[in-house]
C-alpha cells in the first residue's frame, strides 16, 4: 500500500507533501497506518469534502493506492470526517517530522 499526503493553505500558505510506501516501514508502523486507513473507511469517503475554504485552514489531499484500487480524498480542517481525523493527524505528524527533506 502507498499513501500520498499533501497539505496546502494555512496562515503561511505553505505546501507540504509526503509519500509513504508501507512496505518500507517497520511492520508495527505499517500495521498502524493500515489500521487507520481501515478505520477511516477510506475507500468509501467522498472524493471532495473540502467545502468553502475557511480562512487560514489547511486543505488536504490524501491518496491511498493498493494493488487493486486507488482513492483520493480532498478535505480540510473544518470539514474532515470524524473517522478520517486520526489518519489525518498521523500523516500530518509524519509530514512535520520530515520537513526539509524532499518527500
Amino acid at each position: 500500500m502507498r499513501i500520498i499526503f499533501e497539505r496546502t493553505g494555512g496562515i503561511m500558505g505553505l505546501k507540504s507533501r509526503l509519500t509513504i510506501n508501507l512496505d518500507e516501514l517497520p511492520v508495527d508502523q505499517s500495521r498502524n497506518l493500515s489500521r487507520l486507513v481501515d478505520e477511516a473507511n477510506f475507500f468509501t469517503l467522498p472524493k471532495d469534502s473540502s467545502g468553502r475554504p475557511a480562512p487560514d485552514s489547511f486543505q488536504y489531499t490524501i491518496t491511498v493506492e493498493t494493488d487493486t484500487t486507488s482513492h483520493t480524498v480532498h478535505t480540510s480542517d473544518i470539514t474532515a470526517a470524524e473517522e478520517l481525523r486520526p489518519l489525518l493527524q498521523e500523516l500530518s505528524q509524519r509530514a512535520r517530522s520530515q520537513r526539509g527533506s524532499k518527500a
Partner: protein, 378 residues
C-alpha cells in the same frame, strides 16, 4: 495533481482549449475539477452570507465579550470554556494571550472606527486554544478563532513554530477575517482572497501598533513576530514593509510574497495564492501609511476600513481595491487631498494605477476560458 493545476493555469488560453478538446481523461478531469470546486465555493458562500445575516440579528448588541475555550489537543469546536469576560487570568499563557489579544483587537475597532465587535453588533469573541497536537497554524472557521500550539510536541532542536497566540498580530489577523466576513465578505480565492488576507494583515499589524503606540515609521510591519523559534532564519511569516524578505530558511524555504504586480504569482494552490499575492496590497497600504506619517491606524487605517465596510464586494480585484481606496480617501479627506495622493502613491509603488487595468487572478482566467462567468456579486 496540484502541480498539474499550476501548469494548467499558466498555459495560454489557446493551448488550454486544445487540452480540453484533445487532452487525456486525466487532463480533462483536472480542468473540470477546478470548475466544480469553484462552483461549490460559490454556492456555499451564499449560504454563509445568509447565515451571517441571521447570526447578526440573533445576537444582541453589547460590549466587549470574550470567551476562551480549551480544545485539549482535540478537534471538537468549541472546546471547554476556560475563561469568560471579566474572569481572572489563567495559569495557561495561551488562554491569556487569546483573551488579551482579542481584547486589544476589539478596542482598536471600537475606539477608532466605532465598530462593536466582529459583526458590529456585539458578537461574542470566541477563541479556541490547544487545537490538535503539533498543529502549526491558526484559522477562522466562520464563527470562531482557532489556535494550535506549533511544534510543542517535537524536541526543542526541531521546533520551528511557537504557539500561535504568541503574536498579537496573528490574533488580530484571525479576528479581522470575521470582520471581513460580515462586511465585504471577500471570496477566499484569487485576488478577492488575497485582499481578504491583506485586510487581516493590515489590521493585524495596526492592532500591534495601536497597543505599542507606534507611528508608521516606528512600527516593524512584521506579521507573526515571535512565532518562529530560534531554529528558523526569519523575523516572521510576512512583512508588509518588504514583502518577500520575512524568512529565508533551509527548511521553510524563502518568503514567496511579491511586493509588486510584476511579480504576481499565478497559481491555484492555496486558493489561488491568497497568502502569497497579499504582499501586493499589503505593501500598498504600508507605502500609503508611511507617506501619511503619524499613527497608521488613524488615516490609512480609516481609509481602508471605509473601503472594507462600504465599498469592496465578494469578487473585488486589486484594481478595484486601488480605485475604491482612492475614492474612500476622497470622501473622507477631500478630492486631491494629501490623503488621497498618499493612496495613489501607495498603489503606484506596487504597479497599480488609479483607473488602470491591472491583470486579475488565475481561477477567473480559467473560468473565462471555459466560457463561464466568475461568481456574481450576491
Amino acid at each position: 495533481m496540484h502541480a498539474h493545476h499550476s501548469i494548467l493555469c499558466i498555459t495560454p488560453p489557446h493551448m488550454l482549449q486544445e487540452i480540453v478538446r484533445n487532452g487525456s481523461p486525466t487532463q480533462r478531469d483536472i480542468a473540470l475539477q477546478t470548475l466544480i470546486t469553484s462552483e461549490q465555493i460559490r454556492g456555499q458562500r451564499r449560504v454563509m452570507k445568509s447565515m451571517a445575516a441571521f447570526m447578526a440579528t440573533a445576537v444582541p448588541s453589547g460590549n466587549k465579550e470574550r470567551a476562551i475555550y480549551d480544545v485539549k489537543n482535540g478537534t471538537q469546536l468549541p472546546g471547554t470554556l476556560v475563561r469568560g469576560e471579566g474572569d481572572p487570568a489563567s495559569s495557561d499563557p495561551a488562554v491569556n494571550e487569546a483573551y488579551d489579544g482579542s481584547g486589544v483587537t476589539y478596542d482598536l475597532f471600537f475606539d477608532i472606527y466605532g465598530r462593536n465587535s466582529i459583526n458590529n453588533n456585539g458578537l461574542k469573541l470566541e477563541s479556541n486554544v490547544h487545537y490538535q497536537k503539533g498543529y502549526d497554524n491558526a484559522f477562522w472557521d466562520g464563527k470562531q478563532m482557532v489556535y494550535g500550539d506549533g511544534d510543542e510536541d517535537l524536541p526543542v532542536a526541531e521546533r520551528l513554530f511557537n504557539r500561535f497566540t504568541i503574536s498579537l498580530d496573528i490574533i488580530a489577523h484571525e479576528l479581522t477575517h470575521g470582520v471581513t466576513q460580515y462586511e465585504a465578505n471577500l471570496a477566499y480565492w484569487d485576488q478577492a482572497g488575497a485582499l481578504n488576507e491583506s485586510m487581516s494583515d493590515v489590521y493585524g499589524s495596526l492592532v500591534k501598533q495601536y497597543q505599542r503606540k507606534q507611528t508608521a515609521s516606528e512600527a516593524d510591519w512584521i506579521i507573526g513576530e515571535g512565532l518562529f523559534t530560534s531554529n528558523v532564519n526569519g523575523v516572521g511569516i510576512r512583512t508588509m514593509k518588504a514583502p518577500g524578505t520575512a524568512y529565508n530558511d533551509p527548511v521553510l524555504g524563502k518568503d514567496p510574497q511579491p511586493a509588486h504586480m510584476k511579480d504576481y504569482v499565478r497559481t491555484v494552490e492555496d486558493n489561488g495564492g491568497v497568502h502569497i499575492n497579499s504582499g501586493v496590497p499589503n505593501h500598498a497600504f504600508y507605502v500609503t501609511a508611511l507617506e501619511l506619517g503619524g499613527n497608521a491606524w488613524e488615516k490609512a487605517g480609516r481609509i481602508w476600513y471605509k473601503t472594507l465596510t462600504d465599498k469592496l464586494q465578494e469578487r473585488s480585484t486589486f484594481q478595484q481595491a486601488c480605485d475604491l481606496t482612492y475614492e474612500a480617501a476622497g470622501e473622507l479627506y477631500g478630492v486631491n487631498s494629501l490623503e488621497q495622493q498618499a493612496v495613489k502613491k501607495g498603489w503606484d509603488a506596487v504597479g497599480i494605477t488609479i483607473g488602470g487595468d491591472a491583470p486579475t487572478g488565475c481561477l477567473s482566467t480559467i473560468l473565462g476560458i471555459f466560457g463561464m462567468k466568475a461568481p456574481a456579486e450576491n
